[in-house]
Structure formats: C-alpha cells, structure tokens
Symmetry: C2
Subunit: 421 residues, 2 copies
C-alpha cells in the first residue's frame, strides 16, 4: 500500500476519531512480514507451533462437522455462542477447578475480541485500567481504543508485585480503577508466573477496593516445569476469565471465551451484538468436534514436549552466549523469555541491526503504554516457533548484536561517562 | 440468565462506560429465541435460507481446504486478511464493474465488523453520521457504541430522498458529517432500491460537501425482478464498499470485506488489530475454495429462484389479506418488505398479540436511532426464511392482528376522536 517514492495524500486526514491518533500498530505484527524472509529466524512472533497437528484428523473433523451439524454450522447463531460450545468450555474449565455452567460463558473471536469487548463495556476516556508492566501488547491495543489511563504495576519472577499494587489502589481509592488486567501464567511478555501468595493478595486487594479482576489465561495448559497453580477464577468467582483454543489447538479458528458474572456477561453480549452479530458457527462446531472426538490431550502432550525442548534450548543458549550484563526470566511454561539489558541500551535502535543479522525480537517498550519510557532496555524473545537448533543460532546472532552495542558503552562506563545500571 | 422471581443485583452497575447506557439489544435477535418455537412463523429474522446448500459439496470443500492449505489454514494470519481471499474478492467485485486490486481490500468478520471498525475509526462522541430512515439496525448498533448524532434521511420507493439530503448537508456544511451510510440495493429494512438518478445525486452531494459515502451491499446479487443498477463504488472510487458472503454462500463463515481508499484502509487495519488480531484463516480458506472450486453461480441461481417465489407469495398475500389502511414496499430483490400502518397504530404494542397468534415481525422503531419517534407505525417483514405457504399463513395471522387493532380505531376515527393518517 505504500508505493515507494510516492507521497500518499489522505483527504480524510482531518476526519478520524481522536482515539485513532494515539494508536500504534504492533511492532510484532509488522515484523511478521519481515519474519517471512527465509533467512531470518523469528524470536518475535507469538505464533504457536502447529506444524505437527494431525491435518488428516483435523480435515476429517471439519468434514464431519459440516455433515453432522448441517445448516446450523453455516447459519447465523446466537451472539453469545453455541450452547454446545459453551458446554465444551464448561468441561475444559473443570480441568482447572473452575466450576461453571454454560450460562456463565460467552464465546468470542479469540480472546482478543473479549479484550475489545471489555474495553468497550467498561472504559470511559480517562478511566484508570491497571495492568502488569510489561503487559500483553494486544491488550494495550484493545484497551487504548477507549482512551483509558493505563497504570502499570511492575512484576518480578513471582508475577505482579502486589505490594506495589496495594499502594496504587490506596492512592486510587475504592472503585478507582475499572479493572485489573493480569496474565498470571507464563505472562506475555515476561514469561513469569504469579505465585500463590500473590494471587491471594491480588484477590484480597480487589475485593477490598471493589475492583474487577480480568484473568487472561492463554498459556495455562502449557507448563513444562514445576506444579500448576490455581487460577484466579477458581479462587474467586467474581473474576472475569479469558480462555482460548489458540495455543492448545489452533489460532486459525479464532475461538476464545469469556467467563463473567451474569450481569457483566449480559452487557458484554449486548456490546458484542453491534460488533459482529455473532461469531462463526462453523468454527465453533469444529472446535466442539476436535475436543469431543479426538484425543486432544495426546496432541497437546506432544506439543508440550516440543515446547519444553525449545524452552530448555533457549535458556541454555542464553546462559552460554549472552553477555554478563544481560538478565532474563526463566519461564516454567508459555512462549516467552524477557531479557533486560543495562539502562543505557535502547533495544528499538538494535532492531535494524538484528534484522540485518537475521534475527527478530520484540522491543520492550511496545509492551508498555504509549508515552511510557519503560521497557526501552528490554526485549521479548519467543521460543515457541523455532526448532531448538535455530533458537541456538538466533540467540548467538542476537548476542553478537548486543555485544557490539555494549562494547562501546563499556568504554564509556569505565571512563565514568555512562552510569552502569 | 434471568431467573424469574429472582432480582439479580449487579455490583458493577456503576462501573459501565457511558456508551453502554444508551445501547439496546436488537428486537430481532431477541426474537430469534421466540422464533425457535415450532408453532411460530418468523417474519422477523433476516436469516438467509441455506437449507438447500449442497452439504456434501461444502463438506468436501472444507476437508480439502484443510489438506490443501495445511497449517496456514489453522495459524494466525494477516490482520487485513489472506492475499488469496482478497484476490477472490477482486474477482467477485469485477462482476459488479468494481475495478480494484487486493491492496484495496480488508477481509472482516462479516460486514458487521466493518461497520464497527468504521465507527471506531471515524466517530467521536457527538459527530454527525447520516443514514437512511429507516436503516439497518445492526448499523445503528455498531455506530451508536461511539455515540454519534445519527441524522436520518427519509426514503421512498426510489431510495434515500436526496433532495432532503441536500438540504441537510447544506445545513451541516462541508465535512459536517463523518459519513453517509446507505444500503442502496433492496434496503434493509425498507426493501427499496436507490434509483440511478438518486445514486448520481448522492455522489455529487458527497463530493461537493466532502463527505465519505459508505455503501453496504449484502443483497446486491439477490435480484428477482428488474435490471441491476451500478453500485455507488463503480461510479466513484472514493466510496467505501462493504460486501459479505453471508447471503450468497453462508453467514456461518462470518466473511465480509471492506473496500476503501488506501489511507482509510490503513486506519481500519490498525484499528482491526486491537479488535481481533486477525480473522479466521480457516473460514477464509473455505470461502476461497467454495467460490473457486464449486459452481457457486448455479447454487446462487437456485437460491434466487426460491426467494423470487417467496417474494411473490408475500406480495400476493399482502394484496389479498392486508387491510386497506396498510401500505407496503415492493422490493425487486433482497429479503424485506416494509409495511406502514396509520399513524395511530403502534407496532411494538402489537408484537405480543402477534406472538400469541404465532407470527413475528420487526417493529419499525428499532430501525431508527434511539430516541426517535419515527417508525412506530411501521414493521419489517422478511420473506427470505419461510416457505411460500407459510408466508401466506403468516400474513393472514398478521392481518388478523392488525385488523383487530384497527377495528376500534376506525370507530374513533369515524367519531372524529382520532385523525386518520
């Protein structure tokens, strides 16, 4: 769409809504294009590896879905989703000790639609929304369309630092924020998992200050080390829970769900009606058949084995190849490692060099709200999509880029011209 | 979700965004539930009749789509849609003399998502948006989330009355509205088609006052009488055009598209990213295969034959059975007839009686913006979904309900206590 050398005039320039002015596109999504160059190893995308999905099985499932469900699979459906899909979600959630009925569920176009619907339903311009810092950039994009003030709470290896949350909530007061958004398991982008102690503290604070908690859990079933922790929703049924089949089956079906208190769900459904009338019945039928008819747990276990090897390969390569100034997280599951470099390094400036060397990553500042100065010295690297040997190669390339950047800085630091962080 | 006799307290009542307060759910969608009672004949739903879709063919198409396209059909994709789907849209649009390239297209989750994206991209609170009056209630729902002031321009059998539009635009001035939304072919809900003279006048006015035109064309290929008219987009490439496969293939695939000038499309894509990341790759692949591999025109022609019989049956029944006080439109295509009763009749009040008699319709006031007093004496009746004999029966039932309502009124009118409209 951008013809080089041709300045494109936009006669509608003055007509866009204010909300569009502050929006930015995702560096990750923009990098998807670059990542399709065959010589580049992508550490930027959060695409699940579905290369070993049994396509013949899936093909049979979708063919049977159409024949079995007939026109119901091809017709308009209920805005909140198919009853049978909700029943499946009830079953899937019981694995996580979340006890619900189909009436507690709305099926969405991926969990991303649920984020948009939550923003649309709750956020007036200027309202406070609390997230972890860093946080999922898709959530930032979804919420920012409704122009909130996003307050980030720093996290560490135990997840959101709830003692800092407590101070923030004390400052904001009761109902001083519209909701607290968290990815407690294998957080995107930081890879860390909220400890049980912090989970309980978070829920206690939310109850005390009467603030809604939104738990986004796309990776919960992808644990490679350690023991599972109870979901927030299983500890408190006031929590809004977001799930998706994207990482346990396939993202191309765009099937997610939101579990919420009934009055909240009623509002979300009303808002959803104007957004899409209804989701794809066919996709829902296929999801039902996949989880009901196929040994999906066996497929998932294969996937987990694969991801475990990749995670281990990436962490080993980081240990071996990354410079001593770098620190990084040690995820027990999910897709991502978060790397922090000295304060004086700007990872966005490093990106072109990395691309030149044939490796991509997500600069950390994209995982903070627009206008924040945080995350500039950090990066998200994903181990989900590449083979272990490629991961090792990519980490080597990235280490070389960082090393080159640090070399000069070290001289300045030793001369006292730069402060070591 | 509403347990009778149980008052449901909403602890988040004070927390919702202002935009939610004025939203209403669609009477049509709410009636879908009622319409599933087997004794009720539905004239309310706009569901296409897909009962004669060749399910075995479709089943083979979807199975092959998965095998042929492999993981690409199941993975995340580009926010703006698959290149191959855009190429298909280019081909489909050339039938309508709309000359575009894939770069002019974004694939959406049904045309409804395009309406939401347009609202999100253009509308600030209080901005003016112009629609026909009555207009598509899904568009009202989509736009109203962004709190515009919706100005309706009355229509007649020639579509939007552009001489009234001219007066309104003169009042609003250049760029005084964000866009003009129109369904020129077989309008939802009125069933009327904009004449060529009016099309040209509308485009002239839009150019003169520098206002974007949004052409929503879900029914364009469903013509049963008369000759096709050129689409607005084919007459002026500044027009934003919305299309969908919902009425020519199947709504369950939720596949629509928007054609727009490049700078507008770039904004829509950016906004779309935060809304859903991307649409369903699988649905897009299936749509590609259906239109590329199957004789879809033959299937469509069968559908048109069916709809033509239904349209004729409904118009004949109206002529024969409806009271002399009623007037109605004579659609040459699409799904809907718009009935106007005397001013003193309120069709919403008639709805419970109609349901009791076993027939549903859409009360006219739902097709005007909230707060408008227009359309109260009108109704939308759909001939798309029921067999001709059912349509005749339904029109008979509805006539009896109207007759009963008019009986008393006639006495009042003859006594001079009510003014005949």
């Amino acid at each position: 769409m951008n013809v080089p050398g041709l300045v494109q005039l936009d006669e509608w320039q003055s007509n866009y809504a204010h909300r569009v002015e502050t929006m930015r596109t995702s560096a990750v999504r923009d990098l998807f294009a670059a990542a399709s160059r065959t010589d580049i190893i992508s550490l930027s995308g959060g695409m699940p590896n579905i290369n070993r999905l049994p396509l013949d099985q899936v093909s049979q499932v979708v063919a049977r879905a159409v024949l079995d469900e007939g026109v119901a699979a091809l017709q308009y459906g209920d805005t909140s989703g198919r009853e049978q899909t909700k029943q499946l979600v009830v079953k899937l959630m019981s694995d996580l000790s979340i006890a619900i009925t189909p009436a507690d569920v709305t099926i969405t176009t991926g969990a991303q639609q649920a984020l948009d619907l939550l923003g649309k339903t709750f956020i007036n311009k200027g309202d406070v929304v609390i997230t972890e810092g860093p946080t999922y950039l898709g959530a930032l994009q979804a919420f920012s369309a409704y122009q909130p003030q996003i307050v980030t709470i720093p996290l560490d290896e135990e997840g959101m630092r709830t003692e800092l949350l407590a101070a923030e909530l004390e400052r904001l007061g009761s109902r001083g924020a519209k909701f607290i958004y968290t990815v407690p398991n294998f957080q995107n982008p930081a890879g860390v998992t909220m400890s049980l102690r912090r989970r309980k503290h978070l829920l206690e604070l939310a109850r005390h200050y009467e603030i809604l908690v939104v738990e986004d859990d796309p990776y919960g079933r992808l644990r490679y080390r350690g023991e599972p922790l109870p979901s927030l929703r299983s500890l408190d049924d006031h929590v809004v829970y977001l799930g998706t089949v994207s990482k346990v089956f396939a993202p191309g079906l765009r099937t997610g769900w939101v579990i919420a208190p009934h009055p909240v769900l009623a509002r979300l459904n009303m808002v959803k009606q104007g957004t899409d009338l209804c989701g794809s019945a066919l996709n829902q039928v296929i999801v039902e058949h996949y989880f009901n008819d196929i040994d999906w747990r066996a497929n998932l276990n294969l996937l987990i084995e694969q991801y475990r090897l990749r995670r281990d390969a990436m962490l080993a390569a980081l240990d071996e190849l990354f410079p001593p100034e770098a620190r990084w997280t040690h995820p027990e599951g999910g897709f991502f490692v978060w790397v922090t470099l000295p304060d004086y390094v700007d990872t966005t400036q490093m990106l072109p060099l990395a691309l030149e060397r044939g490796v991509t990553f997500v600069p950390g500042d994209g995982c903070y709200p627009a206008g924040s100065s945080l995350g500039k010295n950090a990066m998200r690297i994903a181990f989900c999509y590449e083979e272990p040997e490629n991961l090792r190669e990519a980490i080597g390339r990235l280490a070389a880029v960082i090393e080159k950047r640090l070399e000069l800085c070290r001289i300045f630091v030793s001369a006292g011209l730069l402060k070591a962080s």
